[in-house]
């Protein structure tokens, strides 16, 4: 077992043990916090596929997170009010079923990633960063000012959506569901990195011209990576909306994009468990520093700066040593 695998195992153990303890000690809020961390982790695992594998610095992942949230909000609000989503050319009803909502969130955010990717991947480097940020801002403004679905007020869903066989209103059951999804996506992400696609993508990031000589289109590889990445972050968005029973344009804001990126980098880019460690640490910092000072973001900023400047590849890098997991 490498040191990184040991660190990963400890993280996994904590994700099971801490909420287990909270259940025993009757501290439901700890479970809520853990759920928040797990959902953020899922969003960041999504971003990590674009960022770590594809080398795509997307500063607009809030788009997919928010669209996932709105997929949940729109479907559930129609179900809540017993109004069909559309009646022509055929009737689509709203739904309160999580699996349907998840699928919708994945499809919608994948389509958005495809469209944004087609435009943004015409460029690279700094242009790509600025363009993803700008398109994020565009959709944010549109969501605020578009009068249907609440605008800036967002959508409130009074009861959490259902999953067959579970009572999602019980915090630990909802947590379990989120954790299971995170683990499935982590497994998928690990397999993806080792698959021929992952290897080609990795090569496209490092030596694009050599990939071209073997007849692969690096832009197409990156586009696929961005679509997969966006779809996963969209799924996380649907879960986040269900955690809060609420969705609003804040989920689409550029600060949200920044935070998702922060999760990845605190933990370690291109590390399988980097986004997970990062999200857990962020939620902890937010909770602990927030309890100490009103100006806690100053300290958060300083911590982030130190992590970047130290250049050790995030927390996993510090604990497990240099050397990227997927390289």
């Amino acid at each position: 077992m490498t040191r990184e695998a040991a660190v990963n195992a400890v993280i996994l153990l904590l994700l099971v043990a801490v909420p287990g303890w909270a259940l025993y000690a009757d501290e439901p809020f700890t479970i809520t916090l853990a759920t928040r961390a797990v959902i953020f982790a899922l969003a960041a695992v999504g971003l990590n596929i674009a960022l770590g594998l594809g080398g795509l610095v997307s500063l607009g992942h809030a788009v997919y997170f928010g669209l996932g949230g709105y997929a949940m909000g729109v479907l559930a609000s129609h179900a809540q009010n017993y109004t069909p989503l559309m009646e022509w050319p055929f009737v689509i009803e709203g739904t309160k079923s999580m699996p349907v909502i998840w699928l919708t969130a994945i499809v919608v955010s994948a389509i958005a990633a495809l469209l944004i990717g087609l435009l943004a991947l015409r460029t690279s480097g700094v242009y790509f960063i600025m363009i993803t940020l700008a398109f994020g801002q565009m959709i944010y403004f549109f969501a605020i000012s578009w009068p249907a679905y609440g605008g800036e007020d967002g959508l409130s869903i009074y009861v959490r959506n259902g999953f067959p066989g579970l009572n999602t209103l019980v915090p630990i059951q909802f947590y379990g569901l989120c954790l299971a999804l995170l683990l499935i996506v982590l497994l998928f992400s690990a397999l993806l990195a080792r698959s021929p696609f992952g290897l080609a993508l990795n090569a496209a990031r490092q030596v694009p011209h050599r990939v071209e000589t073997v007849g692969l289109d690096p832009v197409r590889l990156k586009l696929v990576a961005l679509v997969i990445s966006g779809a996963i972050t969209g799924l996380a968005g649907a879960l986040f909306a269900d955690l809060n029973r609420f969705v609003s344009p804040t989920m689409l804001s550029w600060q949200m994009s920044g935070e998702i990126m922060v999760f990845v980098i605190i933990g370690g880019v291109a590390r399988l468990f980097g986004p997970v460690a990062g999200a857990v640490i962020f939620v902890l910092l937010e909770h602990l520093l927030g309890g100490i000072s009103e100006y806690w973001q100053v300290f958060l900023g300083i911590v982030l700066l130190l992590i970047v400047l130290s250049g050790k590849g995030g927390v996993i890098g510090m604990l497990a040593g240099r050397g990227r997991a997927h390289d």
Binding site: E27, P28, F29, T30, T32, L33, R36, F141, I144, S145, P147, G150, G151, E152, D153, G154, S156, Y158, P171, F240, N244, R245, F246, S248, T250, M251, E286, H287, G290, G291, S293, E294, Y295, W296, Q297
Partner: protein
């Protein structure tokens, strides 16, 4: 996230005497980032009333929502699940209220609104455990509309940001104005440059301007408007002429008429004591938001005097009786548990070096809310 402080002197006193806190109140408000000044005033007004009362057995937990709905929801979860509060209060913004209030009341907690009171919660979504102590969102815009009508304006130009509260604002104005409009525009939320809109106003042949632009947007608009040479009378809801904002606008705001249900020169004993007490303690003039915070705390204290918070029916009745001295003078609750109160028109004036407001008339007497009939309570 939750900037969490135990602020109540009362709670400290309770700890000192070894008494157990019996009633827990959770205040979720905006203390950092943009819009923090509003939340700080609500908190300070609320805490002033708690300190003046000075009773034991009351614990106030204050947390910062950073004006983010998801953070507000998380704090509410923490307060309900972990701190086990009895009453929630403090939210400034309608979108945060919509995120927190329905689920809090569904979990059997009282919510007393210190500011935001969206239409949904006053009408179809009204709830026995939800009380708005401030107003219903449309009220102050309605007052401006009533004022425009009574002044005989025949062609006002009206504008607001393009988001739900902005749409409510223009609808509220039109509900009481009822005449012709020179123009009606929605601006971008967070917009800071209004040159294009001012040019449209100039070209529209309007005889007056009504606008709702909360926070920095209003500051920007007023400064640019004053410099544009357009010299039409301006009116709006009190939010853009709030005590904290006026100092940043300066002379540009002088003479503007605004609809408000409170003013520091309202002539009643409770208000005089509040304004003096607030200045004494915090060394600044109170704002509208501070007044709402103060009234909310006093309403809650009055209800605690006669009922036990665990007896929800009795406590609800005690709140609904509104048996406290409001700084607004007349105050009672309608069936949807939103206030019935007079709404005034104020004018921005300068007192020494300080910009503030003076009441110049009553726009609507005993105003309830437009949505009261939709509420089934």
């Amino acid at each position: 996230m939750s900037m969490k402080t135990l602020l109540a002197a009362a709670a400290l006193a309770a700890l000192a005497t070894g008494a157990q806190a019996q009633v827990k109140v959770g205040m979720i408000t905006t203390l950092s980032g943009g819009g923090a000044s509003l939340g700080i005033d609500i908190r300070d007004g609320f805490m002033l009333a708690i300190e003046e009362d000075g009773r034991d057995g009351l614990e106030i937990i204050v947390a910062d929502d950073q004006r983010k709905p998801d953070v507000a929801v998380q704090i509410a979860d923490e307060m309900i699940q972990s701190d086990k509060v009895d009453i929630l209060t403090g939210i400034v913004w309608s979108n945060l209220a919509m995120a927190v209030v329905p689920s809090a009341t569904a979990q059997g907690k009282f919510y007393l609104s210190t500011n935001a009171a969206p239409a949904q919660l006053a009408g179809k979504g009204c709830h026995p455990l939800y009380f708005s102590v401030s107003y219903q969102n449309d009220n102050l815009h309605e007052a401006a509309g009533a004022y425009a009508k009574s002044e005989g304006y025949s062609n006002p130009f009206i504008m607001a940001p393009n988001y739900p509260a902005g749409h409510d604002s223009l609808n509220g104005f039109k509900r009481f104005y009822e005449g012709e409009l020179a123009g009606e525009i929605y601006t971008e939320l967070g917009q800071t440059d209004y040159a294009a809109e001012i040019a449209q106003i100039r070209a529209s042949g309007a005889d007056s301007v009504f606008f709702f632009l909360p926070g920095g947007m209003g500051i920007s608009f007023l400064k640019q408007y004053a410099d544009s040479g357009v010299d039409l009378p301006v009116m709006g809801p009190a939010f853009s002429f709030d005590q904290a904002i006026l100092q940043a606008v300066g002379d540009a705001a002088l003479g503007v008429k605004n609809g408000s249900n409170w003013s520091k020169d309202l002539d009643n004993e409770a208000n005089a004591a509040f304004v003096a007490g607030f200045q004494e303690k915090y060394d600044r003039l109170p704002s509208l938001y501070a007044a709402y915070g103060y009234d909310t705390a006093n309403l809650m204290l009055s209800a605690l005097d006669t009922a036990d918070v665990t007896d929800q029916e009795a406590f609800r009745a005690a709140l609904a009786a509104a048996d406290f001295d409001s700084v607004r003078g007349k105050f009672s609750f309608d069936t949807n548990q939103h206030p019935i109160q007079d709404i005034f028109i104020r004018e921005v004036i300068k007192e020494g070096d300080i910009y503030t407001n003076m009441i110049v008339g009553t726009a609507i007497e005993d105003r309830s809310s437009a949505y009261v009939d939709e509420c089934s309570m």
